[in-house]
Symmetry: C2
Subunit: 235 residues, 2 copies
Amino acid sequence: DIADAAARLLGSRDLSGRRVLVSAGPTREPLDPVRFISNPSTGKMGFAVARVAARRGAEVVLVTGPVDLPDPPGVRTIRVVTAEEMASAVEEEAREIDLYVGAAAVSDFKPRVAAATKKKKSDEDEEVTLTRTPDILAALGKRFAGKAEAPILVGFAAETEALLQNARKKLAAKRCDLVVANKVGRPGVGFASDRNRVTLVGPGERANIEGTKEQVADAILDWVVPVLEERRPRG
Amino acid sequence: DIADAAARLLGSRDLSGRRVLVSAGPTREPLDPVRFISNPSTGKMGFAVARVAARRGAEVVLVTGPVDLPDPPGVRTIRVVTAEEMASAVEEEAREIDLYVGAAAVSDFKPRVAAATKKKKSDEDEEVTLTRTPDILAALGKRFAGKAEAPILVGFAAETEALLQNARKKLAAKRCDLVVANKVGRPGVGFASDRNRVTLVGPGERANIEGTKEQVADAILDWVVPVLEERRPRG
């Protein structure tokens, strides 16, 4: 739109020539043809990162789960449903990127079996076995560990408790460069809101950011740019 | 909006003086503070019924699960999350109604236990026990069975197979007056679409209807009006 076009003309183009891959939204893990396990992610945070990165000059690919948002202008958008579909799309698109921002709320678990037809009601309780889905961020961390072409990896941690402790754990375990931690379960920020309050947790620093999701996206990219300049100087 | 206002002036007011209760949308059944079991209902069908009933003169209450739709103009809208919350709201609002249209895609099952904090990842499979949620339509059928003040009860049946057979079963089992049956799992109609193709299944008749969700809503109400005139003549 006009705001984006103006920003492209006037604003900082500090990601120009950079390739950025962003994941967004929830995933849905089917129990049967109509029922699934999911979470309340609306995709707004990841879409904001994709939009802002494009505005700042990057070539952006966005992989998103089912959300009610239109493709951001100038962003190649790939729509998926399940964690496995998202993992495949990210793995495929992660070639030759400078930055990955994993803002999707990927389901950690899926039903081991998805029934082929809609389950009929019965008064009996029913046992469902949940099994792990692929860990997309950890797979990228492992794939690029120690490699010269390693992109900057940014993960998100939505936590209901022990926010910083869990974010630091994630930083180490997933071998990523920055974790964007936010506490969920508070009204008005986070899931489904236009605003967000997060803590950026890097290896040696942290910063609290509060604002619209576009402002949070800008803050994340402000952190990324100098790291990129140092680690992956432009040819 | 203007279209609604014009329709109210020009269109049929054949539900004037009638009290209508509509349910819409999915419900969400929590596994923990961020994960839930749900289905892809967007609420469009139920919202269309509420809007069209109000346009045709009814006093309308809409009970809806989590959807991305604004309150329809002139409709008292109550927002809920879980099947139990929806059951309570419907039970409460069902006093002195002429018509109940149960368009919500209520989860039939919920996790027996919802964890208080977000489940941490582990590589172990996990067993979840699913237990039945209240059957809202059957409860209304039972509550009003044989009563002079019984409202017309309209149920929806989203089926992946044996559509008519399951609809007839539902008509009898829930003691309702009409079942709106639609086959799910086809692209372009049903869940998340603006169009729908349904079969109206009454005790002695059936009719295939295809069109926008507003046209389907009008067809349902066209079926209801003469039954209401006969069973519940206006004071």
